[in-house]
Symmetry: C2
Subunit: 338 residues, 2 copies
Amino acid sequence: MIRQSRNIDAVLASLLVAFVLLLLGLLRPALAQEPLPSWNDTSAKTRIMEFVQRSVTEGGEGYVAPVDRIAVFDNDGTLWSEQPYYFQLGFVLDRVQRLAPQHPEWKEKEPYKSVLANDLAGVARNGEKELVDLGMATHAGMTTDEFNKIVTDWFATARHPKTGKPFDEMTFLPMRELLEYLRANGFRTFIVSGGGIEFMRPITEKAYGIPPEQVIGSTIRTEFALVGNVPVLRRLPAIDFIDDGPGKPVGINQFIGRRPVFVAGNSDGDYEMLRWVTGGKQHGFAMIIHHTDGEREYAYDRNSAFGRLDKALNEAERRNWLVVDMKADWKKVYAFEN
Amino acid sequence: MIRQSRNIDAVLASLLVAFVLLLLGLLRPALAQEPLPSWNDTSAKTRIMEFVQRSVTEGGEGYVAPVDRIAVFDNDGTLWSEQPYYFQLGFVLDRVQRLAPQHPEWKEKEPYKSVLANDLAGVARNGEKELVDLGMATHAGMTTDEFNKIVTDWFATARHPKTGKPFDEMTFLPMRELLEYLRANGFRTFIVSGGGIEFMRPITEKAYGIPPEQVIGSTIRTEFALVGNVPVLRRLPAIDFIDDGPGKPVGINQFIGRRPVFVAGNSDGDYEMLRWVTGGKQHGFAMIIHHTDGEREYAYDRNSAFGRLDKALNEAERRNWLVVDMKADWKKVYAFEN
């Protein structure tokens, strides 16, 4: 009898342990590591977490129903660096070098002449027509599948001039943690960028956990064609849509069809998006990434050729937009830092 | 001792019952009601289910990774009826009646004159310029929020001329079950329609379980503006994009950025989309809804003004596209049928 009851005890104990383990498994997300580990314990982190907690607290003020938990992020300067130039400009410069043998006339023709001489100032002195021409020469005339491969290959081989890292590693670790934190709380995260949609899509899933269908950007005209018997989409030398400035709310409405409740940007090109997200019924949360760290990244705002931040910074305080100070608020900028 | 062991037995029994109940709870999806209950047991249902099962069987031929499980659906004639006209045309006709008091000049001006006389044939005799004018008059000149309300109100009050039902109840129950079945197997379901994106978005979540961000359609130009201090998007009298025919693969690539593996359409306006989805590496599954049931719905194909089906039907067999025969393959067309 004693032996029987010890066996029974063993069985009961096993079941109890199993039950407790099951419970712990279910509770694991709640016991998980504290979110936003690369953010310093400043008011920026507090404000973000308070917003998210209010959003998920049913019955509370500031509750956001799951269907409305949409967060939009600028890319250049918000999720990854944009100096010494937008990375897509780096792609353009490299592509001109690659295509140059097929275009001997480029040696004497702007803006190609300046590009081939690595003279960025010379490139910038060109007019809009020449710069659009440059964009078309490097982005059009192939199918969407071919362009996807060209971009993928470029990201695999190109290196950032300051860090020597692949461009898709130049992402901000604190912002990647923010994306994960939002998603862990039921938010759907989108990119809304002035950059080319097909320049970003090959790498956003791996870099940010954002799938192609949640990437919104500038677009080139494409057309369907049957080549032999194979359906293709040809990229045409014509701009379709510029997803920047006042174009960002247009793009948000077109692609998402709902007003987001969270927005992160870093420059005046995000101003209208910041106004759009905070101007709706649910008074969304807005943050601006202010580049204040010349050591770990780049320090710039009002005088920058890329990512100029002026008006949005002026209005941030009275509009209650959070201004993130990269130097003060982030423990780390890039994942590859020591 | 006997009483103690009876208590222990009771506890063990309870735990066992709890364990079994837990197991059953976990197994419930697998023991769930058979999918596609409104489909007859014909080869159409079999082919659909075999495709989905192959898609989710890891290691098997035809396995589709979850990220690639994208299904696209035409709307008019595929998910809901499109007779006696596209429902959006019904919206246009009603809106002209509603706006007419503000436009006394419409009494003598085409196409408004024909619309006000309920003369559809007269409307159709107009040229493209007049019809575009009609579209702009009924779809532009208000903000996106205002238009959302106009459309929502119309769906709430308008009634189908044959059935007397709200237009958003004229959806095909077997197709709604198909959407649910695909989603239960990890597919993301999108609408890709020639209809207006903002005409569909107010009702697609309730009608189909498809959120606004997964609705792709034709678009009007919009622009951001600050009215007083309130950000708005104005709908402009200019077409932005027509998501029909060869435009459908363009729209798919733009909005989704991945090639779908499942496509359902019903007319030649879906031909290029059918070719696009089946012409990729994963040789997607295509189905055409053939309107064969003049009693329960409408019978039409090659000679229809709306949803003309000719070329796609001719090529379906040799391209291995499933042709669904509404009369033979569906137990019920509408949910409200007896």
